[in-house]
C-alpha cells in the first residue's frame, strides 16, 4: 500500500470509523448502488484532503484511508476496500480508549466479507476458478493469476476544462429531466444499468456538489495563507489560488491555474492516477495566459511543477502518467508550445512521478524533441518515448478502430494502451509463459509445488518432434488464456453491479447520455488486457529444446528434464550446453524466429478471445515492472540455462546478460516483432552518460524508430553508479531507475532486484 506524501498524516483511524458508519447507514437506507456510492463520496471528501504545503501552488494533497472507496489498488483499493494488515497493526499498536479499540475490531469484522475485492473473488464462477484458482502470485507458483482492480481510467479532462462543473451539470440535468419525463421511467422505475435511470443522474449531480465542497474546503486555508505568508510572492500565489478555487465552483476555467486546480480535485475524487494529455487540456489556457501577459514563463513552470509534485505525492509508482505530443490533439499548436514547459517541469521536478510520456510523430517540433532528449540525458528516464508513426497504424489493426480513434491512444500505467475517455482495458490477469512451459515439459505437473497446475497432457518425452512439443505447449497456453478472458468479463460485470464509479462515468464518451455506470454498459468500448511474463525466456528455452533434444540429439528429453529437476546441480555440463544455444537479442534468426512465432501465437490467440467473450477487444501486453523478478522466484530451472527462482527477462528485453552481440544486434532482434496485434510492449534501453552524449547514439535511436521501433524507455546511467549505489546507498538516494513500468529509487529496491538491474547490460 502506498505511503502518500503528506507532511502531517492523520494519526488515528477516526476517518475510517466515520466512513464505515456512513457506509452502514447508506446500505441501510438505500439499495441503489449510485446512492450508496454518493454517501461514501460525501464521507470521504473532503475528509481525506490534506493541507496545502509550502511548495504547492495548487491545493489537493491527499491521504487515502485504510478503509474507503477507490477504483484501483494504488489509492487504497478497488471499490469499497480495507487494508486489513494495517488496520490490524493499528489495533495492536495504537493508543486509544476502549471505545476506539472496539471500533477497530468492528472495522475488521464488518469489512471482512463486505469489501469489494472479497465479494468479487468469492463469487468467481467455478469454471474459471478451476483454471486460475488463486491471485496470490507473489507467494505461490501460479501459471496465471487474476488481478482484481479497475485500472486505467482516462477521463475527458479536456471536456472538463472546456465546460467546467456548470457545463457538466447542465448536461446531466438535461438528461435527468428527459429520464424523469420518459413514460417508462414513471411507470416502472428502471433497474440500475437498464434504460434511463433518473437516480444515477441525481447522484451524479450530488457527486459534483461534493466536488464543489472540495474546492470550497480549501478557500479559507488559501485566504489565511494569503494574509500570513512571509513573502509577498507567496501571499499573491495563495490569493490567486483562493480566487481560482472560488471561480471553478460555478464557472468553466479561464486560466491555467483554474484548469489545473479543477482537474486535480476532480481526479482525486474519482480517484484516479492517470493524468491524460496535459498539453491538450491545458495548452489553450497556458497560451492565453501567457500571450495576454497574465502570467510569465516562470509562473507557468511553477504551476506545472506543482501539478507534477502532487502527482508524485500519490506514490503510485506504476502509474501517474502525463502524456504530451502526438497525433489527434484538438489544438496541436498551443499544445506543442505547452510541451516545452512540461518537459522543463519534468526535468526539474526530480521525483519518480509523473511517468512523463512523449508521443512523437514525424512532425514533432525539433525543440520539443531536443528538450526531451536533454531530459533523458540528465538521467531522468523520462519522457518515455512512443512512436505514433508505428503505433497508430498498428493499433488500428489490433483494436479494429479507425485512424481518428487510434490517434487518441493512451498508454496507461506500465504501458497498456487505451483510447482517451473512450475505451477501458483494465489489465486483470497475468500469464507466466515460462511457468507454463515448465508445466508442458512435465505433462502439466509443476515441479516447484509438486502439483498439477494445468490439465494432463503429453510431456516432452512423449513428443516425437519439436513441432509436436510446441503444440502441447500451446495447448496449455490456450487453456489459461481462455480462462483469463472469461475472468475479465466476469470482473467487469461483478464490479459494475456494485459500483457506478460516477466521477469516472461522467467523463467517458457517451456515458452521460446512456445513464449507465462505466462497467454497467456506460463504456463505449469495453476491452481487456492480459499481462504476459517470461516470453523471452520461454523462446530461449524452446530454442534449446529444439536444438539439443530434437536436432543435435545431445540430450534426451529425460536428461533435459532431470537436469532441470535438479536445478543443474550435478548437471553443470548440460546447463552449459543449454546456455550456449543462441539467445534472443543477438540478431540470430534461429531463436529470433522462435520468439516471433511465440509472440504471434500469444498475441493472436489472446486477440481471438475478445469476440468470444463479448469484449470489444482482448489483447496482451508485454510490459515490465518487478513481476519478472517476483514471478521468476517460483519458476524452477528452465531449458535456457536459467537457474530456479532467478529473474525472468524483463518485457521484451533480452534475458539478463544474454545479449552478447551488443546494442545494434539487439535492436535488429527487437524490430522483428509485430506491433499490430497487441496492446503494448515495452522496450528498455540503458546507456551510460558518455555514450548517450555522443551524437551518434541519437542516430541509432532515431534509426530504431524509423524502422518500426514502437517504443523506448531510456535510462542513462553508469554501471559504476549502480555498483556504488549498492555499496553506499546513502549517497545514491536520488538515483532513479526504471524497471519498465516502474520507476524506483534504486537504493530502496530489494537486493535481488538491484542485482538484476545491475546485471543487465549498460551500453
Amino acid at each position: 500500500m502506498n505511503r502518500w506524501k503528506v507532511k502531517n498524516p492523520r494519526k488515528d483511524l477516526s476517518f475510517e470509523i466515520a466512513f464505515t458508519k456512513a457506509f452502514r447507514e447508506a446500505k441501510r437506507n438505500h439499495s441503489h448502488p449510485a446512492r450508496i456510492e454518493l454517501e461514501c463520496l460525501k464521507a470521504q471528501y473532503p475528509a481525506i484532503l490534506m493541507p496545502i504545503e509550502d511548495e504547492d501552488v495548487l491545493a489537493g494533497r491527499i491521504q487515502f484511508g485504510l478503509i474507503g472507496y477507490g477504483i484501483q489498488g494504488q489509492t487504497g483499493g478497488t471499490g469499497y476496500y480495507i487494508d486489513e494488515p494495517r488496520v490490524t497493526e493499528a489495533l495492536e499498536f495504537q493508543a486509544g480508549n476502549a471505545k476506539y479499540r472496539e471500533d477497530l475490531h468492528d472495522l475488521l469484522t464488518f469489512w471482512k466479507a463486505r469489501n469489494t475485492y472479497e465479494i468479487v473473488f468469492r463469487n468467481t464462477p467455478e469454471d474459471i476458478r478451476a483454471v486460475i484458482p488463486t491471485e496470490q502470485w507473489k507467494t505461490q507458483p501460479v501459471p496465471a493469476s487474476p488481478i482484481i482492480r479497475m485500472a486505467g481510467a482516462y477521463i475527458d479532462f479536456d471536456k472538463l476544462v472546456r465546460i467546467g462543473i456548470p457545463g457538466l451539470e447542465k448536461e446531466i440535468r438535461d438528461e435527468l429531466e428527459a429520464a424523469r419525463a420518459a413514460p417508462s421511467a414513471r411507470a416502472a422505475p428502471a433497474a440500475p444499468g437498464e434504460g434511463k435511470d433518473p437516480v444515477i443522474y441525481e447522484c451524479m449531480l450530488g457527486s459534483l456538489e461534493v466536488l464543489k465542497d472540495c474546492c470550497r474546503h480549501y478557500i479559507p486555508e488559501a485566504q489565511e495563507k494569503a494574509r500570513t505568508a512571509a513573502s509577498e510572492g507567496r501571499r499573491k500565489e495563495m490569493a490567486d489560488l483562493a480566487e481560482a478555487l472560488g471561480k471553478i465552483v460555478d464557472h468553466a476555467p479561464t486560466t491555467m491555474l483554474e484548469g489545473l486546480q479543477l482537474c486535480w480535485l476532480y481526479a482525486m475524487m474519482c480517484p484516479l492516477i492517470e493524468f491524460g494529455r496535459l498539453d491538450e487540456y491545458i495548452g489553450d489556457l497556458y497560451v492565453r495566459d501567457l500571450d495576454s501577459g497574465k502570467i510569465g514563463e516562470a509562473q507557468a513552470l511553477k504551476m506545472v511543477q506543482s501539478y507534477f509534485r502532487l502527482i508524485d505525492s500519490l506514490d503510485c509508482e506504476t502509474d501517474g502518467r502525463v502524456i504530451v505530443g502526438g497525433y489527434g490533439r484538438r489544438n496541436p499548436e498551443n499544445a506543442d508550445r505547452f510541451c516545452l514547459v512540461a518537459c522543463e517541469a519534468c526535468r526539474t521536478v526530480r521525483e519518480i512521478l509523473p511517468q512523463f510520456t512523449l508521443r512523437f510523430t514525424s512532425s514533432t517540433p525539433k525543440a520539443v524533441w531536443e528538450s526531451a532528449m536533454r531530459c533523458i540525458g540528465e538521467g531522468r528516464t523520462f519522457p518515455l518515448l512512443y512512436n505514433d508513426e508505428v503505433l497508430v497504424p498498428g493499433l488500428m489493426k489490433a483494436f479494429d478502430v479507425d485512424r481518428a480513434r487510434a490517434e487518441t491512444y493512451m498508454p496507461l500505467g506500465c504501458g497498456e494502451i487505451e483510447f482517451d475517455h473512450y475505451s477501458f482495458g483494465s489489465p486483470n490477469g497475468s500469464i507466466g509463459t515460462l511457468k507454463i512451459l515448465e508445466l508442458a515439459l512435465r505433462c502439466g505437473l509443476d515441479p516447484v509445488s509438486d502439483r498439477y497446475l494445468s490439465f494432463k497432457t503429453k510431456g516432452l518425452g512423449d513428443c516425437a518432434t519439436y513441432e509436436e512439443f510446441v503444440e502441447v505447449y500451446k495447448s496449455h497456453l490456450r487453456r489459461f488464456i481462455e480462462a483469463q478472458a472469461k475472468y475479465e468479463v466476469y470482473l467487469y460485470d461483478a464490479i459494475g453491479k456494485i459500483h457506478p464509479f460516477m466521477m469516472v462515468t461522467m467523463l467517458y464518451d457517451g456515458a452521460i447520455q446512456k445513464g449507465k455506470g462505466i462497467f454497467a454498459g456506460g463504456c463505449e468500448y469495453l476491452a481487456g488486457t492480459v499481462e504476459l511474463y517470461g516470453n523471452v525466456d520461454a523462446a530461449n528455452s524452446l530454442a534449446a529444446i529444439k536444438k539439443l533434444v530434437f536436432e543435435d540429439k545431445k540430450l534426451t528429453p529425460d536428461q533435459l528434464v532431470t537436469a532441470l529437476d535438479n536445478n543443474f546441480v550435478g548437471y553443470e555440463k548440460e546447463r552449459k550446453m543449454m546456455m550456449d544455444v543462441p539467445k534472443y537479442g543477438n540478431d540470430e534468426a534461429y531463436v529470433d524466429d522462435i520468439m516471433a512465432d511465440l509472440h504471434n501465437y500469444l498475441c493472436e490467440t489472446i486477440k481471438e478471445q475478445g469476440p468470444k467473450v463479448g469484449l470489444k477487444s482482448y489483447l496482451c501486453v508485454n510490459i515490465n515492472n518487478a513481476q519478472n523478478t517476483t514471478l521468476g522466484r517460483w519458476v524452477g530451472a528452465t531449458p535456457d540455462g536459467r537457474k530456479a527462482g532467478t529473474p525472468m527477462s524483463n518485457a521484451n528485453s533480452p534475458a539478463s546478460g544474454t545479449d552478447k552481440r551488443g546494442l545494434t544486434a539487439m535492436l535488429n532482434s527487437i524490430v522483428k516483432l509485430s506491433h499490430d496485434n497487441h496492446a503494448g510492449m515495452v522496450q528498455n534501453m540503458r546507456f551510460t552518460k558518455d555514450t548517450w552524449d555522443n551524437p551518434k547514439t541519437r542516430l541509432l535511436i532515431e534509426d530504431y524508430f524509423s524502422r518500426g521501433g514502437a517504443h523506448a524507455m531510456i535510462t542513462v546511467v553508469g554501471k559504476q553508479d549502480l555498483a556504488n549505489a549498492m555499496e553506499r546507498p546513502e549517497e545514491y538516494r536520488d538515483l532513479i531507475v526504471r524497471i519498465g513500468g516502474l520507476s524506483a529509487r534504486y537504493v530502496l529496491l530489494k537486493k535481488d532486484v538491484q542485482q538484476e538491474i545491475y546485471n543487465r547490460v549498460s551500453y
Binding site: 553443470e572 545494434t664 555514450t691 542516430l699
Partner: protein, 314 residues
C-alpha cells in the same frame, strides 16, 4: 568457406564503436602483436593463438573445471580447512576444454578463428548502421580493424575488403609491421589510425619491446602514398605526458602535413584486470591510476599550440 581463404585469430568484435573512426563502426580485434607496450589495454591480443581467461571474481568454486581439465592445470587445493580453486598456468595449454564446464563465465577463451567470409556473416548485422552517420554529418561509418596488430593479417584484410569494397574500412595500427603488409592493404583501406607512442627509439624499445624506426618509416610511406591518416597518441602518465613528447609529436605532424588530425588516447587501467585474467605478471613501471582529465586537456592544449593541427581527446 573456400580452402584457400586466409584465416585470422580474432578475440572480439565490437559493434556500435563510436571512437575508432568516423560514423558508427564495428571494430574487429585481431590477436597477435610484435610489440609489448607495457601499458597495453588489450594484453589478450599479444599472442596469435587462443588463450584462456580466468576471472577469479566470477569463480564460485564448483570445481567442475578440475574434472574437465586433462592437464592438471585446474586444481582443487586445500588451503587451511577449505578447498579452493587454483589455476596453474604452468600446466595450462590453452586447450579451452575447461570452458565447457563453467556456467559462471569465470573461464573463457580469447581468440576464435575466422575467415573473411565467416567474419562477413557477423558484420552483416551491422551494415545498416554504417550509413547512419553519413546522412547526419557524423561521417560514414564502417569497419575498423584493430588488435593486436591487424597488419599481421594483411591477406585476410585484403580478402575481406575485396568481398565488400563498398564498406568504409579503417586500420588501427601500431605501425610495427612489415612494409609488404602495408603495401598489400594500401588500396583497400580508406583510413589509417596510426599510433605514435614515444619519439626516442631507445626509450621506445625500453617501454614497447622494439625501437620505432620501422614505425616512422611506415608512417612516411603511408604519407607519401597520400593515404588518409589520423595520428593516435596514447598518453601515459609518467611515460610520455611531457612537453618534450608534445614537441616531438608536433615535429612529426610538421613533417607529415597530410595528417590533419591527432587523437589523444588517455591511459586507463582496464588492461590491468585483463592481465590478471591472463595470469600475466604486472609491468612494474605502469601507472595504476588512469590519466587525470585535466592533465590530458593541458597536454592537448600544449600540442595544439605547438602543432596547429586538430587535436581531439577520446
Amino acid at each position: 568457406m573456400s580452402a584457400t581463404e586466409a584465416k585470422a585469430w580474432i578475440f572480439d568484435i565490437q559493434s556500435f564503436s563510436l571512437k575508432d573512426g568516423p560514423g558508427i563502426r564495428t571494430t574487429v580485434f585481431f590477436k597477435g602483436c610484435a610489440l609489448r607496450c607495457q601499458w597495453c589495454h588489450n594484453p589478450e591480443s599479444h599472442v596469435a593463438k587462443p588463450q584462456l581467461l580466468y576471472r577469479a571474481n566470477l569463480c564460485v568454486g564448483c570445481m567442475r573445471c578440475v574434472d574437465a581439465c586433462r592437464h592438471g592445470a585446474q586444481q582443487k587445493v586445500l588451503v587451511g580447512s577449505a578447498f579452493v580453486h587454483v589455476l596453474d598456468r604452468e600446466k595450462c595449454v590453452d586447450c579451452g576444454e575447461c570452458v565447457e564446464s563453467c556456467c559462471y563465465g569465470a573461464l573463457e577463451m580469447a581468440g576464435q578463428e575466422y575467415t573473411p567470409s565467416t567474419l562477413m556473416e557477423e558484420i552483416k548485422k551491422d551494415l545498416r548502421y554504417f550509413s547512419l552517420g553519413e546522412k547526419a554529418g557524423e561521417g560514414r561509418g564502417g569497419l575498423t580493424f584493430s588488435g593486436g596488430e591487424p597488419l599481421l593479417y594483411p591477406d585476410f584484410i585484403a580478402e575481406f575488403c575485396a568481398l565488400a569494397p563498398e564498406i568504409h574500412t579503417a586500420v588501427e595500427t601500431s605501425g610495427f609491421a612489415d612494409r609488404k603488409a602495408f603495401e598489400k592493404v594500401l588500396d583497400s583501406i580508406d583510413l589509417f589510425l596510426f599510433d605514435f607512442k614515444i619519439a626516442d627509439s631507445k626509450e621506445h624499445e625500453a617501454w614497447c619491446g622494439a625501437g620505432n624506426s620501422l614505425i616512422v618509416s611506415n608512417l612516411d610511406f603511408l604519407h607519401e602514398r597520400g593515404k588518409e591518416i589520423v595520428l593516435r597518441l596514447p598518453l601515459i602518465p609518467g611515460v610520455n605526458d611531457t612537453e618534450r613528447h608534445a614537441r616531438a609529436v608536433a615535429q612529426i605532424l610538421e613533417r607529415h602535413p597530410g595528417i590533419k588530425r591527432a587523437e589523444i588516447l588517455p591511459y586507463h587501467t582496464y588492461g590491468l584486470g585483463k592481465q590478471e585474467e591472463l595470469g600475466m605478471p604486472p609491468y612494474p613501471g605502469v601507472p595504476t591510476q588512469a590519466a587525470i582529465p585535466s592533465h590530458v586537456q593541458a597536454w592537448a592544449e600544449e600540442l595544439r599550440r605547438l602543432a596547429g593541427t586538430e587535436v581531439a581527446c577520446l
